[in-house]
C-alpha cells in the first residue's frame, strides 16, 4: 500500500511537472478553420496574428461558442498543427526524459495535432484536439471544449448564456492569465520539471469531464459555475491518456468571475477564479488529498490600430492543501500545507509579425522533507518546492494577415525562447542533492509552429 501510494504521489509530481508547468507545451491555437469560418484573418482574434492569446474580438468569439460565421455554408471544422523544437539546457540532464531522446540538445516533433474546431451547428461550436507526440511515440486525446450559447436581451443589454463541456479546468477560460492558455504558449517537454504547482493550473488536465454554465452580460460581466468528475481509468486508457491524477471524490466545483472593459483601442480584464477538489490518489476509497484554490488575475491590452499590440497578463493563485491521504500513506506528516503561484508576462507585437515577450513565474509552498526528497534533476535537497525564474521569447509570424500567403489556410510562427531559473525545487545551488544548480536547467529552445 505504501509503495503504491508513494508511487502514485511520485506519479502526481512527475505528471504535474511534465504536463502543467514546464513540459506542458501549451497547445497553440490560431486555427485556420476558425479563420475560414469567419472570413477573418488571425489578427482579428489573436495578438500577434497567432494563438492562443486572444484579443477582445477573439474572446467574444470563444464566449459566443466558436460558432460565429460569415455565412451559412458548411465548412469542415478541421485544422492541423505541427510544433517542432530544439531544446538545449545549460547542463546535460542526469537521465534522458524519454527513451527516444538524449540528455541534451534534443530535436523533437513535440506535437502533431488534428482539431475539430469550429461551428458544428447554429450556436454550437467546438475546440477538440487530438495530439501525437513524437517524444512519447503515442497519440492521445488532448484539449476538448464544446459549447452551446444563446444571446438574449436583459435590461436592454446583450446577455450571452452558455453551456460548456470540457476536459480541463481553465481550458474554457476566455482569458490568457490562468492555466491552459497562459504564457508560455509553447514550452519544451524535454526539460527537468519542478515539483509542484497550483492544482487549478493543470492538476486535472484531461483526467476529467466537466460541465459549466456561464453568462456574459453587456460585454462587461462574466460569470461561470461548473463541476468536474473523473473519467474512469478504462476511458482514459481508451483515449490514450495516462491515469495520472487519481479519482475525484464526487464533483469538484469550479467558478469564475470577471469584469472586462473594451474601448476598442484598449481593453482590460479583472477576475477571480477558484476550484475545490478532493482526490483519491490511486483511485481507492479512503482518505483524500484536498485542494482549495483561489486566484486573482488581470490583463491589459493596447490594441491601437490593431497592427502593434502591447499586452500584460498577471495572475496569483493561493492554494490550501489538506493531505489526509498523504498522511495516511506516510508520505508526509504535514496534513495542512500551502502553496502560492504567481505568473506575469508582458508582450509587444510589431506589425502583427514581430513579437517580444518577457514573463516571470514563482511557485512557493510548504517545506516538507518527507514529500519532497532528493533525486537527481527532479528532486529537492531542502524539501522546499520553491521555484522561480523568467522567460524571454522572440518570435516571427510572417503570415496570418488578410493579404498573407496561404490565408486563411496556413499560419506559421518561428521563435526562440530562453528560460532562466533563480531557484529550482527550493535552492539556487545543489537543489537536488546531486550537485545540480538551478541555473543548470536554464533552457534555450528554438521552435517552429505551423497551423493549417
Amino acid at each position: 500500500m505504501r509503495i503504491l501510494s508513494a508511487f502514485s504521489q511520485r506519479l502526481w509530481q512527475i505528471a504535474f511537472a511534465a504536463v502543467c508547468l514546464l513540459g506542458g507545451a501549451m497547445p497553440a491555437h490560431a486555427l485556420p478553420s476558425y479563420a475560414r469560418q469567419t472570413g477573418e484573418p488571425c489578427t482579428s482574434c489573436h495578438v500577434g496574428a497567432f494563438g492562443p492569446q486572444l484579443t477582445p474580438h477573439g474572446r467574444a468569439f470563444k464566449i459566443g461558442g466558436y460558432s460565429d460565421s460569415k455565412d451559412d455554408a458548411f465548412r469542415a471544422p478541421l485544422s492541423g498543427m505541427l510544433v517542432a523544437n530544439w531544446t538545449h539546457t545549460k547542463k546535460d540532464q542526469a537521465e534522458a526524459l524519454s527513451g527516444h531522446d538524449g540528455t541534451n540538445n534534443n530535436v523533437a516533433l513535440q506535437e502533431a495535432s488534428v482539431f475539430v474546431a469550429g461551428k458544428i451547428a447554429p450556436h454550437l461550436g467546438s475546440f477538440i484536439q487530438t495530439t501525437y507526440s513524437e517524444i512519447d511515440r503515442a497519440t492521445a486525446f488532448d484539449h476538448a471544449d464544446v459549447r452551446y450559447t444563446r444571446t438574449l436581451q436583459a435590461a436592454g443589454k446583450d446577455l450571452i448564456l452558455g453551456l460548456d463541456v470540457n476536459n480541463n479546468p481553465t481550458v474554457q477560460d476566455p482569458f490568457n492569465t490562468v492555466g491552459a492558455w497562459s504564457f508560455p504558449y509553447t514550452a519544451s517537454d524535454l526539460t527537468p520539471g519542478h515539483l509542484t504547482g497550483a492544482f487549478l493550473t493543470g492538476g486535472l488536465e484531461h483526467q476529467v469531464l466537466g460541465t459549466s454554465v456561464y453568462a456574459y452580460f453587456d460585454d462587461h460581466f462574466y460569470a461561470e459555475l461548473g463541476g468536474y468528475r473523473s473519467l474512469k481509468a478504462g476511458t482514459l486508457k481508451t483515449l490514450g491518456i495516462e491515469d495520472e491524477a487519481g479519482r475525484l471524490s464526487g464533483t469538484a466545483p469550479y467558478w469564475r468571475l470577471a469584469y472586462t472593459r473594451d474601448w476598442n483601442r484598449q481593453s482590460v480584464s479583472l477576475g477571480v477564479i477558484g476550484m475545490n477538489a478532493s482526490i483519491h490518489p490511486g483511485r481507492e476509497n479512503g482518505p483524500t488529498n484536498h485542494y482549495h484554490d483561489i486566484g486573482i488575475d488581470a490583463s491589459y491590452q493596447y490594441l491601437g490600430d490593431r497592427k502593434n499590440v502591447f499586452s500584460v497578463n498577471i495572475a496569483q493563485i493561493w492554494e490550501r492543501q489538506t493531505l489526509d491521504y498523504a498522511v495516511f500513506a506516510e508520505e508526509t506528516d504535514k496534513a495542512h500545507q500551502k502553496l502560492r503561484q504567481f505568473n506575469a508576462d508582458v508582450s509587444w507585437y510589431h506589425n502583427n509579425s514581430y513579437g517580444l515577450t518577457a514573463g516571470i513565474f514563482r511557485v512557493s509552498g510548504t517545506r516538507d522533507e518527507m514529500l519532497f526528497t532528493p533525486e537527481p534533476d527532479a528532486g529537492s535537497r531542502t524539501g522546499s518546492p520553491n521555484t522561480s525564474g523568467y522567460i524571454l521569447q522572440a518570435d516571427w509570424t510572417p503570415f496570418g494577415k488578410e493579404s498573407s500567403w496561404a490565408a486563411p489556410w496556413a499560419n506559421l510562427r518561428l521563435g526562440v525562447q530562453y528560460t532562466g531559473y533563480s531557484k529550482f525545487n527550493g535552492a539556487k545551488t545543489d537543489y537536488d542533492g546531486s550537485g545540480r544548480n538551478a541555473s543548470d536547467n536554464n533552457t534555450l529552445m528554438l521552435f517552429s509552429w505551423l497551423s493549417f
Binding site: 469567419t38 472570413g39 477573418e40 482579428s44 467574444a60 476598442n264 490593431r306
Partner: protein, 126 residues
C-alpha cells in the same frame, strides 16, 4: 438592368456626397479609426471578402444588403438604405437605433467628428 438604372442616381448622389464630406473630414484619421473600430469584422480589400460583416469596399452609394454571399439580417434586407453620408452617419452613431433587429454587434461611435472621418475614409474606397 432595370435595377441598375433605378439605383444609378442614388449611387452617384451617394458617391458625390461622400466625396464632399471627404474633403471636410480627415480620411487618414478615418482609416486609423476604421482599423481600431471596424477592421475585426469588415474587410476593405479590393478583392471583395466578407467577414462576420460584409465587405465595405466601394460602399459609397451602395444599396444595403446587396453584397453577394453575405447573409444579411431580414431587417437590413428590407431597409432600402442607400449608404451615403447621412445614412452612414446615423448607422455608425447607433446601429440599433437604425435597425433594432439588425445583427451588427457594434454599439456605435458617439463622436460626430470621428464618424465624419470614418465616412471620409470609406469614400476613398473606390
Amino acid at each position: 438592368m432595370k435595377t441598375f438604372f433605378a439605383l444609378a442616381p442614388a449611387v452617384l448622389a451617394g458617391a458625390l456626397l461622400l466625396s464632399t464630406q471627404a474633403n471636410a473630414a480627415d480620411a487618414e484619421n478615418g482609416a486609423d479609426l476604421f482599423d481600431a473600430y471596424c477592421s475585426d469584422c469588415h474587410s476593405v480589400a479590393a478583392k471583395v471578402a466578407n467577414r462576420k460583416g460584409p465587405s465595405l469596399y466601394r460602399i459609397a452609394g451602395r444599396k444595403a444588403g446587396t453584397i453577394a454571399g453575405f447573409k444579411y439580417s431580414p431587417a437590413m434586407l428590407a431597409s432600402n438604405i442607400i449608404w451615403n453620408g447621412a445614412s452612414l452617419n446615423a448607422y455608425l452613431a447607433n446601429p440599433k437605433a437604425v435597425l433594432p433587429t439588425g445583427i451588427m454587434k457594434f454599439k456605435g461611435m458617439p463622436k460626430a467628428d470621428e464618424r465624419a472621418d470614418v465616412i471620409a475614409y470609406l469614400a476613398t474606397l473606390r
